[in-house]
């Protein structure tokens, strides 16, 4: 394997509801930094059905080039079809670095591609850097349940691959004037070759709040004592028009469904304001919310680690303080009557 042949930083572009997924935009931002350090190009790989028009978005967020595989067989994500496209693209154009969002699709695709190439793959990366001269990717991630951070290298193979957690990298500001090169790619592939069929896609009808998209999150922990105590979190969230988050212990106790869980095995969030109420601040929780704009902790134990990680704290019993706080906000926001209006 001649490393000189491998140039350029690539991002797998995930499509979501007809648009480029946010995580892909974030990775373009991160990829741009790596590509500039290496004085090389940044490219997106776009696979789907009727997706070519998304290439412009990919340029607007930092890419120089987009490889496109655009035929109906790629309408739904399937490991078998997407993997073949990606493998063909890598073999033909040889990138030095290839990044995927650590989403269910990104992880699925990356694991398959890594095995076939073969090459090393670092999962759930939260920090990326590159050695300018050697091109060695420094991919860092939490390990052993978040107890340590580890930097993982892949010295012997190219491309170097990593899946990257959503919400930790920063997208560049959109540049509407940007343009780039579209390279249309095609491989021989027919439905008969494919052993998996998507029979149906069912979107969950309960409009559950996407906590990863919320500006304000009120999160509650085990300290609230039980589902009844947890109501104070719902009430404050309603008043603020905020989403509700939770620690893992609360989810495991069944007070609230898993999609509210913040943290290493839940969702990573970066709201503008994050309330941590009755949450101790375990490292696995912190990794999921520590980049929030303003972190406010309410906990009765002054030595709770959460206070080390929050901008403002109140030491006290959440069951008395939070209802007072809710009332104060209702008054301040003139929401006494329309307390439900902010509900989503």
């Amino acid at each position: 394997m001649n490393f000189e042949d491998y140039r350029g930083v690539w991002v797998f572009i995930e499509e979501k509801d007809g648009a480029v997924a946010k995580v892909s935009l974030e990775l373009l931002g991160a990829g741009r930094v790596l590509a500039d350090k290496r004085k090389t190009e940044l490219a997106g790989v776009l696979i789907g059905d009727n997706v070519q028009e998304l290439a412009q978005t990919v340029f607007e967020y930092g890419a120089d080039k987009v490889y496109v595989y655009d035929v109906p067989i790629y309408r739904f994500y399937r490991t078998e079809t997407y993997m073949r496209a990606m493998l063909a693209c890598v073999e033909k154009h040889k990138p030095e670095i290839l990044l995927y969002g650590a989403t269910s699709t990104g992880k699925d695709l990356a694991s398959a591609v890594a095995t076939d190439l073969p090459t090393g793959l670092t999962a759930d990366t939260t920090q990326l850097d590159v050695e300018e001269d050697t091109g060695l990717l420094l991919a860092s991630r939490p390990a052993f349940g978040g107890n340590i951070m580890a930097t993982i290298l892949c010295k012997k193979y190219r491309p170097q691959m990593a899946t990257v957690r959503p919400k930790v990298m920063k997208a560049l500001p959109r540049n509407e004037k940007a343009s780039g090169v579209i390279i249309e790619e095609c491989i021989p592939i027919t439905e008969d070759d494919i052993r998996t069929k998507v029979l149906e896609i069912v979107r969950s009808t309960t409009q559950h709040v996407r906590i990863d998209e919320a500006d304000i999150i009120v999160a509650g922990g085990k300290g609230l004592g039980g589902p009844a105590g947890f109501q104070v979190v719902h009430q404050l969230a309603e008043t603020l028009g905020a989403a509700v988050g939770a620690s893992r212990d609360v989810v495991e106790a069944g007070w609230i469904p898993h999609h509210h869980q913040v943290g290493q095995t839940g969702v990573t969030v970066t709201p503008k304001i994050y309330f941590a109420i009755g949450i101790s601040g375990a490292i696995q929780h912190l990794v999921g919310m520590q980049n929030s704009g303003l972190i406010i902790a309410i906990n009765k134990d002054p030595s709770a680690p959460i206070f080390q990680s929050s901008h403002y704290g109140i030491v006290g019993d959440a069951l008395t303080i939070v209802p007072m706080l809710t009332e104060a906000f209702k008054t301040a926001l003139g929401r006494k009557e329309e307390a439900d209006a902010g509900k989503v």
């Binding site: 107890n147 998996t196 969950s204 403002y312 109140i314 030491v315």
Partner: protein, 278 residues
């Protein structure tokens, strides 16, 4: 007869593990070794499928000799057979080297009894990647089905399976030919308490144990540390954000101060802002 193999791993319980703050290594003695929690759901799902369709459930692990305990735990859940591969040559394997070694063992198991379905956990709590399952599937040229949270049907006679794959906002129903591999979510089932007969059987159970030399033709350069493209170059303690200001005074004062801070961001509370609305 339907033959399902669940891949399972013994892991340190990272929930209570202690780290040596000087070296940033785990103090293994501080953490009891347990069956990877996600893998218990893989075994349970295999056992449930056997209850529906008949057949045999085997479990396979790669690990050091004490990992026999994890196999016994699977027998308690209801597995029929246990296989373990253990050898110094496997040590230090990353996901690529792990999937290679496990594939070699699966090929040998398939000689004893052809395999229709492989079930893995979503991820391990120590490796934490979810990459080994799809890796095995690719090596055996089976379709990998990750994020499975429901098995609708496994039809051995006609050679297909139908499952639900969890998506960020719902699920998809997908059909695959058999043999194939599932990586299952935790929510797929609940693992009940073990029954007494299973516990008795587990206590006496002796798994099949193989070393590298038992695995037939094998490329030793693809095993263990040597066969691992990724290496850990450094570890450090995660950075904690700086502590902020603890508000003083009576609750009323504290709340007033907090209100001032939050309402300084008034724009967040205009109609339509906040929540998941944007």
């Amino acid at each position: 007869m339907l033959h399902i193999v669940a891949c399972i791993k013994q892991v340190p319980d990272t929930k209570i593990i202690k780290m040596n703050p000087k070296t940033n290594t785990m103090d293994r003695s501080s953490a009891p070794a347990i069956l990877n929690p996600y893998d218990s759901h893989a075994v349970e799902e295999a056992v449930r499928l056997r209850a529906r369709y008949g057949g045999v459930v085997s479990v396979l692990t790669m690990g050091p000799p004490p990992a026999v305990k994890a196999i016994r735990k699977c027998i308690e859940i209801g597995a029929d057979e246990g296989y373990m591969i253990t050898d110094r040559a496997f040590a230090g394997a990353d996901t690529l080297a792990t999937s290679y070694a496990l594939t070699k063992a699966l090929e040998k198991i398939a000689l004893i009894r052809p395999i229709d379905l492989i079930i893995c956990g979503k991820m391990t709590i120590d490796g934490d990647t979810g990459q080994v399952g799809p890796g095995i599937a690719r090596r055996l040229d089976m379709p990998p089905l990750t994020s499975v949270n429901k098995v609708v049907e496994v039809n051995r006679a006609e050679g297909y399976a139908i499952v639900h794959r969890k998506l960020e906002d719902g699920y998809e129903v997908i059909r695959s030919t058999l043999p194939c591999l599932f990586s299952v979510e935790k929510e797929i089932n609940e693992v009940p308490y073990s029954t007494l007969p299973n516990m008795l059987r587990a206590a006496r159970y002796k798994p099949n144990i193989w070393a590298v030399s038992d695995l037939g033709e094998i490329d030793k350069t693809q095993l263990g540390l040597k066969g691992s493209p990724t290496i850990v170059s450094s570890v450090w303690a995660p950075q904690k954000p700086q502590g902020g200001k603890v508000l003083e005074g009576e609750p009323e004062d504290q709340i007033r101060q907090l209100l001032d801070v939050v309402l300084a961001r008034k724009e967040l509370f205009e109609a339509g802002a906040g929540g998941g609305a944007n």
